[in-house]
């Protein structure tokens, strides 16, 4: 067929240039291959893309292989072409024209979708900086700052403003102000650890003593700040003006809410005798070097319970006047002592018993201890009958009643020699006939027996075996009396010593020379040097590190209440905040 092929190309400044080819071929092939009839130099065109051919007078187009062609925009595989149809091959539009005279067909070929500017397209695809990618410092600055502000400042303040109640509650979940918690709450305060406002009651005000006093209403002072001795000393630290929080700091990672450094104590106590004239307290420093010798409080008047602190070195004054006689050595003899069931060897713990759940020893007493051996038997014929301990009048009555009963039941007769044959003889086996004369005589006998036992036997020998007994006209109905006994519970008034912490590693005689003690007047407290065998300074590495607080407390019993606790105590109901807000049970509500 003869075909007129016109290649159109548009100029940048407008206008069209034309290149016209006249071909006489069987078929017109379109493609990227230079040997084809219509060469379409574009990568979007296949080497062999489409074929145009004449069947009779009709012009057809066919796609080659899998190539895509369109006619008037519709994808086709092959199609009859009419004048005016537009065949699409890749980016080219091929328009079918009316054939001029002498030609079978005529087409215009135009590249309608050029590839465009590679550089611009590369630039458009590429993202060459983080800013171009969309990261924005300004945006993230705002977001971070606002989130931080809301979560860590606004929310906690709003929460605090809305939750001012002072009741202790178990709250679930995280409170907004928990982000302000600067450190763990120490052990016993942990039950309010998620309720900041229990302690921090007012904004921008340090925790008030009233908050502490809600529970700790009875905390006592280190000394009586009102006494003249202290108030006259200018240098003296008046603790009553300090807040609780000045010493007791919460939220510390080490979990220690109290000051444990001994320097805090030593700062004052190293020169206390010079600072406060006439003070009884001795200067004290670190334990291994500068602690004074113990001054136990010994009894000097057992009847009136008067004690005096005597230095352990002062042998002459170190006499415990307890009103008791008790030789430790005789009781602790290795070969044993006579017991109710034969020989037995006594241990310290037979009398000095450590109770469960309490400090110190259980009180030592006659009951269950001394009386196992020292029974108050007053008549060898009746070893089962004993006198009540500690009740002189009752004992006296018991004796009279015992001997009266004894006499009435005939025991009196057996004692005939004592009453000079005044009793009437009777036959063995028969009951005595009680006559007027007989009735008087047994009563006198009973009284005299009771008096004799009371006066001679138990008065001097029985009670006096263990007790100091004073005699004299007018001292009771019998002209003698047992001196009231006072046993010192603890010799150390200001130091705490826990025996239970020591008995599992030390025997009693490691500290107490009881086996050599012949008298109850001995003070068996060891000297401080004995403590120092194991206990060293706070920084000791080869001894038990011991600070002031190992044995001493700051808030001392018997002292006035401290600071604001005096006020808090006025309306303290004994249980603090826990009870104040306890909700009433359902049934009790009106």
């Amino acid at each position: 067929m003869d075909i007129l092929v016109t290649h159109l190309s548009r100029r940048a400044k407008g206008g069209v240039s034309r290149r016209i080819e006249e071909l006489s071929v069987n078929t017109v092939r379109f493609g990227r291959n230079t040997s084809l009839e219509v060469y379409l130099p574009d990568p979007r065109v296949q080497l062999d893309h489409a074929v145009m051919l004449l069947r009779g007078a009709e012009l057809f187009v066919e796609a080659v292989g899998q190539a895509d062609i369109r006619v008037n925009g519709r994808p086709v595989r092959s199609k009859l072409l009419q004048t005016g149809d537009v065949l699409g091959v890749g980016p080219y539009d091929i328009t079918i024209l009316a054939p001029p005279e002498g030609k079978d067909a005529a087409i215009d070929v135009e590249l309608v979708r050029p590839l465009g500017d590679d550089f611009e397209k590369l630039q458009a695809r590429s993202i060459l900086s983080l800013e171009e990618y969309g990261l924005s410092r300004r945006l993230w600055s705002w977001v971070g700052a606002i989130v931080t502000l809301l979560v860590f400042l606004i929310a906690p303040i709003m929460y605090f403003s809305a939750h001012q109640e002072q009741s202790v509650k178990q709250t679930a979940g995280v409170r907004p102000d928990s982000a302000w918690n600067s450190g763990p709450i120490s052990g016993s305060h942990r039950f309010v650890s998620d309720q900041c406002n229990i302690c921090h009651q007012e904004a921008f005000v340090p925790v008030k003593d009233e908050a502490c006093g809600a529970c700790h209403a009875l905390t006592t002072h280190h000394f009586d700040a009102k006494t003249d001795t202290f108030s006259k000393v200018g240098k003296f630290v008046n603790f009553s003006k300090e807040r609780c929080g000045a010493c007791h700091k919460e939220h510390d990672e080490n979990g220690n809410i109290s000051i444990t450094k001994q320097e805090f104590c030593i700062d004052c106590h190293k020169g206390l005798e010079q600072t406060v004239a006439g003070i009884d307290t001795k200067n004290a420093g670190r334990f291994d070097r500068d602690h004074p010798e113990f001054r136990p409080a010994v009894v000097i008047d057992s009847a009136n319970k008067v004690f005096r602190r005597v230095k352990l070195d002062d042998k002459a004054a170190l006499v415990e006047q307890s009103g008791l006689k008790f030789p430790h050595d005789k009781h602790l003899k290795k070969e044993g002592v006579r017991g109710p069931a034969g020989k037995e060897t006594l241990q310290c713990a037979n009398c000095h018993q450590l109770p469960h759940g309490a400090a110190g020893f259980q009180p030592i007493g006659m009951e269950g201890m001394c009386e196992r051996c020292h029974q108050l038997v007053f008549d060898p014929r009746r070893p089962d009958r004993t006198l009540p301990h500690g009740q002189v009048m009752n004992a006296q009555l018991l004796l009279r009643e015992f001997y009266s009963d004894y006499a009435l039941r005939g025991g009196f007769e057996e004692q005939a020699p004592d009453v000079a044959g005044e009793a009437e003889r009777r036959r063995p086996g028969s009951q005595p006939e009680i006559t007027q004369g007989v009735r008087i005589n047994p009563r006198e006998w009973a009284d005299s027996q009771a008096q004799k036992v009371a006066d001679q036997s138990f008065g001097k020998i029985m009670c006096g075996k263990c007790h100091e007994v004073s005699t004299g006209v007018g001292l009771g109905p019998l002209n003698w009396a047992v001196v009231p006994a006072t046993v010192t519970k603890t010799w150390l008034k200001h130091g705490r010593f826990d025996h239970s912490a020591h008995v599992d590693m030390l025997k009693c005689d490691a500290c107490h020379a009881a086996e050599q003690s012949k008298s109850a007047a001995d003070v068996l407290l060891p000297k401080i040097a004995v403590c120092k065998e194991c206990h060293g300074d706070a920084n000791a590495t080869n001894q038990v590190p011991s600070t002031c607080l190992t044995c001493h407390a700051f808030h001392l019993p018997g002292q006035p209440l401290m600071g604001a606790r005096e006020r808090a105590r006025a309306d303290w109901n004994g249980v603090g905040i826990l009870d104040v807000t306890a909700p009433a049970p359902e049934g009790e509500k009106n």
Partner: protein, 277 residues
Amino acid sequence: MFQSILIFRNFRYLKWALAVSLFALISYFAFEPFDGNRNGGTWAGYALGTIGALLIVWLMWFGIRKRRYGGGGASVEDWLSAHVYLGLALIVVATLHTGFQFGWNVHTLAYALMVIVILSGVFGLFAYLRVPELMTQNRRGVTLELMMREIASLDAECRAAALPLGDEVNQLVLDAAERTKIGGGVRRILSGKDRNCPTGAAIRGVQHLAEHTVSDNAEGFRALLMLLARKEDLLGRARRDVRFKSLLDIWLYMHVPVSFSLLVALIAHIVSVFFYW
């Protein structure tokens, strides 16, 4: 220039920073509180906290000062040198202020943000000391735009060279021209690499086709591969250039926004401490 920031004025600001750090260390160790607990709540703690807070505000002021060209007082070089050294000293001051007590709270948050800001600053410092030199070496006197223009013209050459080489080759080259890009996401920008680069794929594909197809146009293949290889080399350099520029930038995306969060956390820290005194 950046080397000179460190040795600026014979290490004047290094000396300042050492003095601040020394003062912090002395305050920390000289004042042992009675309860033995060193933390921000002691007098030494308050002192160090005040110094730290003032340092933070002053360090952030650098962001404003550097924008004021020709502002009076010290030069921007002075400011930058001091910013670097005193920013490092802040780690000493703030760490001692914490008393090494940390927790899940706003206080440790402020500290952590501060550490992030300082570490990102250290990264930035090293970037500014090292990257410009690498950038110059990589560029060989050519700008990124020129590299990209050359890549674009190579694309045209590649396409022309591929036209007679079969549809598969042609498609690979067309893809390489139309889909290859420089940079992209944060990871591509920062790595300076593109594992799915269409140009790389085209080279491998064309090589494979050259080896496995019978063609009378070996010369055409060779010419195309040389063009593609040149393009890939240029792409590598362009991507490294983008990477280097982003390294000079990326730390600021941490340094600046986190420093504003830090400023707010610092305010929250101070307010909370005295709110719940």
